[in-house]
């Protein structure tokens, strides 16, 4: 057990094919380092929830396997799952029970949860997600965002080593989204690994240290967020009356996808990144009168489009 700790999640060739259907997840090799905030990205239907269900032992992989917190799943479910908090495809609640009673029920389902501290832990979890005041209301009358918060509270009933959150900001208002991000950072700061699925790219960019991108059930890329967005090339934009010359010079310096309209020329910077100051000097030396000159940093979305060669759309 010495040496570096096992990854929080480690899958090898994880594959799921639903009865009579196409592959929902295919040959997934995913490694989530301990202590990371890991964004699991992909368009609708790309297999995120299916992967999460396999990780948590809810569905059996067709082939391949997964280790969660170093233990094989689903074989070691009863040792692993008490250390994992989860939100899977939205919260599910007993409408005829109050928020507090819902959490008591779920906590009692965990045979390793101490009944003596149950009430206190439930109260703390409710406070943590801002539901303290609404805890005595029936869950039936909760708004979508309140239900989502209660689902998060359930995931936080005990200190966890791993938090698996499937689209946690679904249904939340901007304030609620901010609170979730704060919560995720807080939990991560305590040493919990957070595995977060989403199709909101900027959400991932804001909180995640690592990310993986799924497309049609297959893993496209995984790595640190900084590396991923660095991988996508930025664009250079020049505003000038001498459009034709500018285009020529920029092409000579290796820019691709160079386009021009009226008085603006844009192009994709070459890789490895050229020194843009040199480019500016070259333009001026060629007699191009430059009115404005700047680069647009690549976002994770550019990275995604670059990687998949497609938009962020649902695969059929």
């Amino acid at each position: 057990m010495d040496g570096p700790p096992a990854p929080a999640i480690d899958t090898r060739g994880l594959t799921k094919r639903f009865r009579g259907g196409q592959f929902a997840v295919r040959g997934l090799d995913l490694t989530v380092p301990r202590g990371s905030v890991f964004g699991f990205l992909g368009p609708n239907g790309s297999g995120k929830t299916t992967t999460i269900r396999m990780l948590l032992g809810l569905i059996e992989p067709t082939s391949g396997g997964a280790r969660v917190l170093g233990e094989p799943m689903p074989r070691a479910a009863r040792q692993v799952l008490p250390r994992v908090g989860a939100l899977i495809e939205g919260p599910a609640l007993y409408g005829f029970l109050t928020g507090r009673e819902n959490l008591l029920r779920y906590d009692a389902a965990d045979p390793t949860a101490d009944p003596a501290t149950r009430t206190a832990r439930v109260g703390a979890a409710l406070e943590r997600v801002g539901l303290g005041a609404a805890s005595a209301k029936k869950a039936r009358v909760y708004s979508l965002g309140m239900k989502q918060r209660l689902g998060l509270a359930r995931a936080l009933l005990r200190p966890r080593e791993l938090l698996v959150l499937d689209e946690p900001t679904n249904g939340l208002d901007p304030q609620g989204m901010r609170e979730i991000r704060t919560l995720v950072r807080e939990v991560a700061a305590e040493g919990t690994t957070v595995f977060l699925s989403s199709h909101l790219l900027d959400e991932i960019e804001q909180v995640c240290t690592h990310a993986a991108v799924m497309s049609r059930g297959e893993l496209v890329v995984q790595g640190e967020v900084a590396e991923l967005s660095a991988g996508a090339r930025g664009r250079l934009a020049v505003t000038t009356p001498d459009v034709a010359d500018a285009v020529r010079v920029l092409k000579e310096h290796g820019l691709t996808d160079v386009g021009a309209d009226a008085d603006r020329v844009t192009g994709e910077l070459p890789q490895p990144a050229a020194d843009v100051a040199e480019l500016n000097a070259a333009l001026v030396a060629a007699g191009v009168r430059v009115r404005a000159f700047g680069t647009e940093r690549a976002s994770l979305e550019d990275a995604f489009v670059a990687l998949t060669g497609e938009g962020f759309d649902v695969a059929g």
Binding site: R53, L56, G57, L58, I59, E60, P74, R75, A77, R78, Q79, V80, L81, P82, R83, V84, A86, I88, E89, G90, A92, L93, Y94, F96, L97, E101, L104, R105, Y106, D107, A108, A109, D110, P111, T112, A113, D114, P115, A116, T117, R118, A120, R121, R154, R158, P159, E161, E190, G191
Partner: protein
């Protein structure tokens, strides 16, 4: 096969293996400020592991409006029967020979309303109520999505199933008691109480009669064990609570119809309602136990078969709802 084995291990060990789960990983958990990591706390947790879930199950069954409605209907039946008997005997006495068992004795002794009510509700109303609760038990949770959260808690598939079955059995007992108590109260309000004349002709004291009524309620509750297991099994087959409840009740009706077709007498002894009316044997002196024992045996057989089937299904099933 490997899936079944893996899940079996997960489920079965949830109880027996709880010590390991309680002491091992929880103690290793970095930053576990609360008590679950300490040996004493985990021992307490172990002692109460099943009780907490069981109490939760009871709560979600009996806190539900639908359960109250079912029990309300069951309680209303003895009242209606009692009123009908009272009303009819005032008018003409012609129908005294027909109707459900013991109904002719009710006017002389209110205690017989208990026997009549159980005889009236046992063929359909009681098993139907049990079928609704059992059919909903797993499918209802799958329907609402709460099943996945119970499983990742992790409740353990075997532990959850057994807890659910135990809860349905509690409902069988409660439903029977509701009928019996409503009948007792109605009988006491509308008719005289006194010594009880048995089927075999002897007369026993009212106290003896009450004891026999209690024993009969027990036998009736045991009669529901089979349909409870059947409903539980159907409940593991689908994610639709309505479909599970309807199927269970449909099976009950079909079996009751098959039981009434004379040409099928060869299979009838294997149908779960076959010995249901055996409870009347407790109103003889000496009480005859053979049919009652055969009833209990048949119910146990159904319970064993269908709980096993439910277990095989739930422990290998993909939970996608």
């Amino acid at each position: 096969m490997s899936r079944a084995e893996a899940d079996v291990a997960t489920g079965t060990d949830a109880g027996a293996g709880a010590p390991a789960a309680g002491a091992g990983p929880a103690a290793e958990t970095p930053g576990t400020p609360e008590g679950s990591g300490t040996p004493t706390a985990s021992r307490t947790a172990r002692a109460l592991w099943s009780l907490g879930l069981f109490r939760g199950e009871l709560r979600i069954v009996f806190r539900r409006w639908r359960t109250a409605a079912l029990l309300g209907v069951l309680a209303a039946i003895p009242v209606l029967v009692g009123i009908a008997v009272k009303f009819q005997t005032r008018g003409d006495r012609q129908g005294a020979g027909d109707g459900p068992a013991f109904i002719a004795d009710v006017t002389n002794n209110g205690l017989f309303l208990v026997f009549t009510s159980l005889a009236v509700t046992l063929p359909f109303f009681l098993p139907m109520a049990v079928g609704v609760v059992a059919g909903d038990s797993v499918a209802g949770e799958a329907n609402a999505g709460t099943l996945r959260y119970l499983l990742v808690a992790p409740a353990g598939r075997t532990r959850l199933l057994l807890t659910k079955y135990a809860t349905v059995l509690v409902f069988c007992g409660v439903a029977t008691l509701v009928v019996a108590l409503a009948a007792l109260a109605t009988g006491a309000a509308l008719f005289p109480f006194g010594d009880v004349t048995l089927i075999s002709g002897q007369t026993v004291s009212l106290g003896d009669g009450l004891l026999r009524a209690l024993a009969i309620a027990g036998v009736v509750a045991v009669s529901l064990v089979g349909i409870a297991a059947l409903g539980l099994f159907v409940s593991t087959l689908t994610d639709s609570a309505i479909a599970a409840m309807a199927t269970t009740v449909g099976v009950l009706l079909t079996v009751q119809i098959l039981g009434a077709v004379p040409q099928l007498h060869a299979v009838q002894p294997y149908l779960f309602p076959h010995y249901w009316m055996s409870f009347a044997d407790l109103l003889r002196a000496p009480a005859i136990g053979s049919a009652i024992a055969r009833n209990a045996g048949l119910q146990a057989l159904y319970a064993a078969v269908f709980v096993s089937a439910a277990w095989a299904r739930l422990t290998t099933r993909d939970v996608t709802a």
